[in-house]
Assembly symmetry: C3
Homo-oligomer: 207 residues x 3
Amino acid sequence: MVDFIYWVGMAAVAVNALTGVLEAERKEVDVLGATFVAVATALGGGTVRDLLLDRNVFWVVDQTYLITAVAVGIGSFFLIRHRRVSPRWFLFPDAIGLALFTVIGTQAALQWHTPWLAASLMGVITGVFGGVVRDVLCNEVPLVMRAGALYATAAWLGALLLIGLQQAGMPDLWASGITMFAILGLRMAAIHFHLTLPSFPAKRDGS
Amino acid sequence: MVDFIYWVGMAAVAVNALTGVLEAERKEVDVLGATFVAVATALGGGTVRDLLLDRNVFWVVDQTYLITAVAVGIGSFFLIRHRRVSPRWFLFPDAIGLALFTVIGTQAALQWHTPWLAASLMGVITGVFGGVVRDVLCNEVPLVMRAGALYATAAWLGALLLIGLQQAGMPDLWASGITMFAILGLRMAAIHFHLTLPSFPAKRDGS
Amino acid sequence: MVDFIYWVGMAAVAVNALTGVLEAERKEVDVLGATFVAVATALGGGTVRDLLLDRNVFWVVDQTYLITAVAVGIGSFFLIRHRRVSPRWFLFPDAIGLALFTVIGTQAALQWHTPWLAASLMGVITGVFGGVVRDVLCNEVPLVMRAGALYATAAWLGALLLIGLQQAGMPDLWASGITMFAILGLRMAAIHFHLTLPSFPAKRDGS
């Protein structure tokens, strides 16, 4: 289980770093600026979680995460530099990163004996915070706040599902896997079928 | 005193969550996006204070704060969803939140034996940081930086007043109460009478 | 060495506070708003470094840093209030602050027995984070991300140079001094000769 979580975490760092570069592409940044965004996106969520739980920050303890984020940042910069990248290429890795990080964040908080609601929020923070940092750095309203995408919703429902499954006695590995697919599926379905929650739109029309 | 501070803190969380939803209303966000802003606004200032003081983060220790913020976020979303909300409805709870959080932040820092100037800044950070997070998330220049409202000024003078009153031997409860009304009064007076500090306006006219 | 690092840190706080006020000048903020930006710019990088390393936050332990930032913030506000300040006046102190903070941050991380790559990133974070906070507060895309200035690049190469020099047995004082001039020189040369790294510009022309 520990090994599995470790490599899932590394994969989450890699895909989140990729989304950072894809978003930075829309701004006029150079290779190091893009890598900076990549690193902040990849490590931001887990860093905030570790600070809040008063654990040692994961990438200070184990440099491999940092090396992964830097390598993906630089590599993907040169890969996509002269291509036209469809927004679809941005949303899919972003959804994968969300699913992976939410599961890892919730697991880490539960192992730290955090109460369940706070643990589910740690999952959401780990899942979405990297993207929030990315969007704030790029001077955009964070994706997590924009209507019509079940973003934090998917993460939160997933975190609660994971806690419920483990409480019901399912092994961690199974519960984690099911939760990842549930979050990814819900988010992809939300994008594809335009599922939405109630939002604040009507005022725009002067109602 | 402990009980009093506890419930004052809960009230501050509730009103700050409300201001988060009121600000998110101007952006096109859904119910979870609004709740996300509400939670960040309500818990942001105290979280930063606890991280800086190396204390356990208050809402990880006691979930009640988190539940309050989430409940107020969801509830106020549906309450104001189909209404036209006057900006005045935003500024008054914001001022109350500022007053309550500044007092709590300063008290917490003093109990942690922080030197007085740093303690007063902890009060200001606890008071204003939630609002800064809210404004950065909503892609606005933070309220605390905009001219003509004695925002951080009111918080800082209040924090210094509290430290002075307690140093002079006044019981904590009295000193806290007086300080809250002083901050609220100063902020409301600043809004009403357009009190201002020296600012950077003249350059705009090409001087 | 300890004394030297101490006063270099104080100088870095002062020049970073100055850049905060210079940037706030472009927005309509009052004296406390400008001081708020000055304090956040001056203390932001070191604060994040201390949180990540789980050290006591430097300005909570020693108020002198905070007093310096506040004094410089208020003082420079009134000094530049009625003047037209050239952008050049902004870039030079910013480069000095970058050089000083990068060296201090790297040194602090090395003394804390952080692995070398993470230590170099701590240097970069200490160097650039204050400026990132300043730019996010002022609702700008952070300077560190904009193309064509070798900003984080200069900090990172400098941090790696410092680690290399100390590894090679050079005394801390010499290694620190050389690194500071190297960062400052590289950054100034980048601004003057328009040195650039590969960036994402071509898409703008509709390629």
